[in-house]
């Protein structure tokens, strides 16, 4: 039987989340947001800085989630889009004196275009082959950034130092606190946009492709358009995260954006739960804080400890934090009854 005839309702490559469950309820969301706004009142500057990084990686993981959870495509090349966003912000700020806020939409738009164009040839690939192509992109990016021709702009191997912005309007808060709130607001906006997107006509078309390409095209969905669009949207969102990252860390250098970052983001998505958007926060916490934890357990073997923790987590909850969240939801329902 041909693949066409055999288009039975088979399990898709990505065990995805039913669409109604991609986000948190209003009440839970509000509580999380209040908590996030309240944290700087209690925390030290260093913790606040770490939380900013946490939010930034959560945006990048959310972006990957739109691609994989939404459209069913894989990417190990997110570090390349992140780097492009970071360098765009850094170069605009340091060479052209552009305000840091304005560099973010530019980084997003540029990465969207780049991701869309990359997605075009990638259309011919699927699954593991697509992952390989994006892997190639991730390995190439740091070397491209070191190239002599771009050195005047990128600073070559040295990278660029980025000026940390002060709080505006003479607000009496530290740079770190300001940056945290700035990142938090952008994260919330991106999160809301992503939830809207996945619940819209565009999002449904992407998920239809993820579940069954042939049926999707019979319904009038332009499969290649929506697949590349998913790449573009994911890359653009990652670019904004990269730009924010450059501003927060005050530094960009090629070796900050190796394949390791791409793998970390991928891990974060899996630990958070593929297709479950709030899981991006959990996944990000995993990749930001667990390595520190591992370091505390054993300096020399921190990598091994991290690996062991990862294996335990994947073994206990293969569907990531989303599985835990559903379990809790079930228990809460039972208690209410």
């Amino acid at each position: 039987m041909s693949a066409l005839q055999d288009s039975v309702t088979r399990a898709p490559a990505v065990a995805a989340v039913p669409k109604g469950n991609i986000a948190l309820g209003y009440l839970t969301s509000t509580m999380v947001v209040i908590l996030l706004f309240a944290v700087p009142l209690f925390a030290k500057n260093f913790v606040i800085f770490q939380m900013t990084i946490w939010l930034i990686y959560a945006i990048a993981i959310l972006a990957l989630n739109i691609l994989t959870g939404g459209s069913g495509q894989f990417s190990l090349g997110q570090s390349a889009f992140y780097a492009l966003g970071a360098y765009t912000s850094a170069i605009l700020m340091e060479h052209f004196g552009v305000n840091y806020v304005l560099t973010l939409p530019v980084a997003g738009a540029l990465c969207f275009a780049f991701g869309f164009l990359f997605g075009l040839p990638a259309l011919r690939l699927s699954g593991i082959y697509l992952a390989l192509a994006t892997f190639a992109l991730a390995t190439a990016m740091p070397q491209i950034l070191k190239l002599g021709v771009f050195e005047h702009w990128t600073g070559g191997v040295q990278g660029l130092v980025v000026t940390k912005p002060d709080a505006p309007f003479g607000l009496p808060i530290s740079q770190d606190v300001w940056l945290y709130y700035f990142t938090l607001v952008i994260s919330i906006v991106i999160y809301v946009f992503a939830v809207n997107l996945l619940k819209s006509r565009t999002g449904r078309a992407m998920m239809a492709i993820r579940d069954n390409e042939i049926a999707a095209s019979a319904m009038g969905v332009n499969v290649s358009l929506y697949k590349t669009l998913a790449f573009g949207i994911s890359a653009g969102t990652t670019g904004v995260a990269g730009g924010l990252g450059a501003i927060a860390v005050q530094f960009v250098a090629p070796d900050g954006y190796t394949i390791q970052l791409a793998i970390a983001l991928f891990l974060g998505m899996v630990v958070g739960g593929v297709g479950w958007l709030p899981g991006s926060l959990v996944g990000s916490a995993f990749i930001v804080f667990v390595p520190n934890l591992a370091e505390e357990v054993s300096k020399g073997l921190s990598g091994a400890v991290f690996g062991a923790i990862l294996i335990v987590v994947i073994f206990l909850v293969p569907h990531g934090s989303r599985q835990v969240a559903y379990k809790i939801q079930d228990i809460v329902r039972k208690i209410r009854k």
Binding site: A11, R201, M219, N222
Partner: protein, 265 residues
């Protein structure tokens, strides 16, 4: 101008002209021609491997005929990519059910409206009021169809867990959501029990009568085809064997021979 309109109204809604499809060495369709007229229920019969699904896949532009043409309201569809077939009013179901397993019934059917709606990813993300209103209108239309096919109760259930018969109704609902002029049904009775099959026959007729949809029905179940089709085309080994009213085709010696010679008739 008027004359061409008149000509169009008289012309067949869908014309299959001398269509051949070859896979490697196998000739799956060999010079098949027939017309479909508005409001007809046309039954396409033939033993397993006769080429019925292949013909459907040509009509949905999943397969490219090596010869011949297919005209919808007088215009060739062969220049269109597969995703631009729904918009000219050709809708279909699949022999083995091809739904979106992780999506709810509601969302499966909403995807069916894709070719009849417009949006872009930017406003879909920002969701201004007019996008919300358009979504509400879509949901309303989809809800009507769910009611029509008795699917409201499972609207929010992911389709993967539903019984096969219900999945087939979801597929029908999804096809109707695209407001087709022609509905291609590939073995809709497959996997249904005796009672369900006759319910299905009534439903197909009802859809034609209520919505004025022309139906191309591929079916193994002879009883069903003969009871609801206005016109029957019989295929065997990729060739048209006979064509006519159900009674004519049923008494055709070639058809009888083809069916007696085949175990799955």
């Amino acid at each position: 101008m008027q004359q061409t309109d008149v000509a169009r109204a008289k012309a067949p809604l869908l014309a299959v002209r001398d269509v051949s499809v070859v896979f490697g060495g196998i000739v799956a369709l060999n010079g098949v021609s027939f017309d479909m007229h508005r409001g007809q229920i046309l039954g396409l019969i033939g033993p397993n491997g006769a080429g019925k699904t292949t013909l459907f896949n040509c009509l949905s532009r999943l397969y490219q005929p090596s010869k011949g043409d297919i005209l919808m309201e007088g215009d060739s569809i062969l220049a269109r990519p597969a995703h631009r077939i729904a918009e000219i009013g050709i809708g279909r179901t699949f022999q083995n059910v091809a739904l979106f397993p992780n999506l709810s019934v509601l969302d499966n059917v909403r995807v069916g409206t894709h070719s009849r709606t417009r949006s872009n990813f930017i406003t879909d993300s920002i969701r201004p009021p007019w996008v919300g209103r358009a979504e509400a209108a879509t949901t309303k239309r989809v809800d009507d169809i769910l009611g029509y096919l008795d699917l409201r109760e499972v609207a929010h259930v992911p389709v993967a867990g539903l019984p096969f018969g219900t999945q087939k109704r979801v597929e029908l609902a999804r096809a109707l959501a695209a407001e087709p002029k022609i509905l291609l049904l590939d073995e809709p009775a497959g996997g249904l029990n005796h009672e369900e099959v006759y319910g299905l026959g009534d439903l197909i007729r009802k859809i034609r009568d209520d919505r004025g949809i022309t139906v191309l029905l591929v079916e193994h179940h002879m009883g069903l085809v003969m009871s609801i089709a206005d016109h029957v085309v019989a295929l065997n080994f990729g060739r048209k064997l006979a064509e006519g009213t159900p009674a004519q085709v049923q008494s055709d010696p070639d058809v009888i021979k083809a069916y007696l010679g085949s175990k799955d008739a």
